[in-house]
């Protein structure tokens, strides 16, 4: 059974203006997004800026109001906020933010920041609380003297680790990580990613890993969903997406990743330009009249792609894939 199932999630933002600040239009940030996350897996959500990936993550936690669709957690419907208390949803689902510094209260010491979720959900004595915080600091590799420091006294990587310590404090089952390493340098990024994998192995946590960095996603995720303009166009395992991409948008995105292979730079550039041309030529086949993606179609056990309902066209696209 899956841990979290999101079905037809919609998040529309109203555009207000005019007389009495009426709703004039709406921006459809997330349109009918469905996916599920299994116990202990890392599910990646990839897309370019403005694709709605962060909004999806935030809507699951209730940080953005959702317009439609259902979210169920461990088989229980938690779409309505009132039901979340009951299902321990707030304790079990935590978040790591991109900008760790602005997500930590600058006026509070680390001890109080990390212990806040514990104080909310568990009834611990002062001493036990301190012990737990020390344990958490140890897990993320910070020394005990960090307890009485303030967030600004730490480097970016350390701040992100404090954010992780706070997120794992209540032994969550799912962590939503919104671009957790995109503000970090390469060597610090490696450190944080290793930590995230380590605590996953230790506590059996699932991640919803939101990122625009396809290299990081490949490293971290078991299953991946590609999002563009508020819709998912392809879902599959790591090898489905990276070795056998089918949707033209996925292909184009993968081709654009800079490679460190200096010997085949020209070939790579040509392949990218060719793909770009193909993208502009063929992209209309992959979207309907209104420019929306088609519903997802299952092409293998694990692989779902948005494909046109027209059988002939669909066949043509799949054929092309086999070459």
């Amino acid at each position: 059974m899956s841990l979290l199932t999101v079905k037809d999630l919609q998040v529309y933002f109203p555009v207000r203006g005019g007389f009495f600040n009426r709703k004039l239009d709406e921006i459809q940030a997330v349109r009918d997004v469905s996916f599920s996350i299994n116990q202990g897996e890392t599910f990646g959500l990839v897309g370019e800026s403005g694709s709605g990936k962060s909004t999806t993550g935030r809507a699951i936690l209730g940080l953005e109001p959702q317009t439609g669709g259902t979210i169920s957690y461990q088989g229980h419907d938690v779409t309505k906020v009132a039901k979340r208390q009951h299902q321990d949803f707030r304790r079990d689902v935590q978040m790591i933010f991109q900008d760790s510094f602005s997500s930590l209260n600058p006026q509070k010491r680390i001890a109080s920041i990390i212990s806040e979720p514990l104080r909310n959900f568990e009834n611990l004595s002062k001493n036990d609380l301190k012990l737990r915080v020390l344990q958490l600091l140890d897990i993320v590799g910070l020394s005990p003297d960090a307890l009485y420091k303030y967030p600004h006294q730490f480097s970016g990587g350390q701040q992100q680790r404090i954010g992780i310590a706070r997120a794992v404090a209540t032994h969550p089952k799912l962590i939503i990580a919104d671009e957790p390493v995109s503000a970090l340098d390469l060597s610090v990024q490696a450190q944080v990613l290793n930590f995230m994998k380590k605590i996953q192995a230790e506590f059996g946590i699932s991640y919803l890993f939101i990122s625009h960095d396809l290299g990081v996603i490949r490293h971290m995720c078991d299953r991946i969903a590609i999002m563009t303009r508020g819709e998912i166009v392809e879902i599959g395992t790591r090898s489905d997406i990276y070795q056998h991409p089918i949707h033209i948008y996925t292909k184009q995105l993968l081709e654009a990743i800079p490679q460190t292979d200096v010997d085949h730079r020209e070939q790579h550039r040509e392949a990218r330009l060719a793909m770009n041309q193909k993208y502009h030529q063929d992209k209309h086949q992959y979207y309907d009249q209104q420019g929306r993606a088609f519903p997802l179609v299952q092409v293998s056990e694990t692989h779902w792609v948005s494909l046109p309902p027209n059988e002939a066209l669909r066949h043509k696209i799949l054929q092309r894939e086999e070459h």
């Binding site: 654009a256 800079p258 460190t260 330009l273």
Partner: protein, 335 residues
């Protein structure tokens, strides 16, 4: 490739210090760099390594009151470190120009795109107003903007991030400068847009025979675009060479460690390589010794030089300190 010509920019022992609480701290130390005409050079390093300080030093953008520059930087026979503000006015935009990371804050929000690009040409050339406007439209078309007339009338906030960066590039190439410094030009952009902007930079460099110094932290970007690479760590260049030398035969422990910590296909499930410790802060920069030594403690102290200098390995490949000869990864030894 052209025949050997006089280099465009030569820096020798360039040092930049910043004043913090009445104390000067060196952000840039002993930078020796040569940029040849028609060359694409990348400077790569992590945040705080001094790569942007280098750009600001060359462009003369530092505040004289709280910074100090020593050593020399000769650009087309002109000593930049001694140049006055009026001297800089004559070359900035004409011979030397810069592209910034964040085009929104680099562009004037109150001026239309056409007027902003026009400004450089009005200052440096004798073209008439209509000639300049024609050139603005031509430049915008060259940088891949589909409707130049429309964009020329617009304000920066009406453009997307990629479009703004194109406008910045149009502005930078307006007077066909000899050297463009691009400071993290694609960091704020999506991968598909990033690829387009890098292609554009590469094209501009080849068509106008401009040299480009690309400053970035992204090794993938470097591998895709640069001819030559300089790797910086803690204010110093630790290794420089051709893009092949740096990516295929990296020598300095820092370069080798960085390349190892990139998430790649072949290490998809393993842990990533982590460099121990942290980059030293400006105030705590060691005065002598190899600055990378504390991060590779398993290498004996005798392997390092007391005052590390650049060693020539031939074919333009240079590396700082002698420790590269004895360096190995701790993990490899165990295995």
């Amino acid at each position: 490739m052209k025949k050997t010509q006089a280099p465009l920019l030569v820096t020798k022992h360039l040092k930049t210090s910043f004043k913090i609480n009445d104390h000067y701290y060196q952000a840039l130390d002993d930078v020796n760099l040569t940029v040849n005409p028609d060359e694409f050079l990348a400077i790569v390093g992590e945040s705080g390594c001094g790569k942007s300080t280098f750009a600001n030093t060359i462009m003369g953008l530092l505040d004289e009151h709280d910074s100090k520059v020593s050593g020399s930087a000769v650009f087309e026979g002109q000593e930049l470190t001694k140049l006055t503000e009026t001297g800089y006015d004559e070359i900035r935009g004409l011979k030397l120009s810069m592209i910034f990371q964040d085009p929104l804050s680099a562009l004037n929000p109150l001026k239309r795109i056409a007027n902003q690009i026009d400004e450089v040409m009005a200052y440096h050339t004798d073209l008439s107003k209509t000639e300049r406007y024609q050139r603005v439209l031509k430049l915008l078309a060259e940088v891949g903007i589909h409707d130049p007339k429309r964009t020329a009338r617009q304000f920066p906030h009406q453009l997307s991030g990629g479009m703004r960066q194109r406008v910045m590039i149009a502005m930078a190439v307006a007077c066909k400068p000899d050297l463009i410094i691009a400071d993290e030009p694609t960091t704020a952009l999506d991968v598909t847009i990033q690829a387009q902007i890098l292609d554009l930079l590469r094209r501009v460099q080849q068509e106008n025979h401009t040299s480009i110094i690309l400053i970035t932290h992204d090794l993938g970007v470097v591998a895709e675009t640069a001819d030559r690479v300089a790797v910086m760590y803690a204010g110093q260049i630790v290794e420089s060479g051709s893009v092949q030398q740096i990516f295929k035969e990296p020598q300095h422990p820092y370069t080798r460690s960085l390349l190892r910590s990139i998430p790649q296909i072949d290490n998809a499930t393993d842990d990533l390589y982590v460099i121990q410790g942290n980059v030293p802060s400006l105030q705590k920069m060691p005065a002598a010794g190899d600055r990378f030594a504390p991060r590779i403690p398993w290498i004996p102290a005798s392997a390092h030089e007391d005052l590390p200098v650049m060693h020539d390995l031939g074919d333009g490949h240079q590396v700082r300190c002698t420790c590269y000869r004895q360096f190995y990864f701790k993990e490899d030894q165990r295995a």
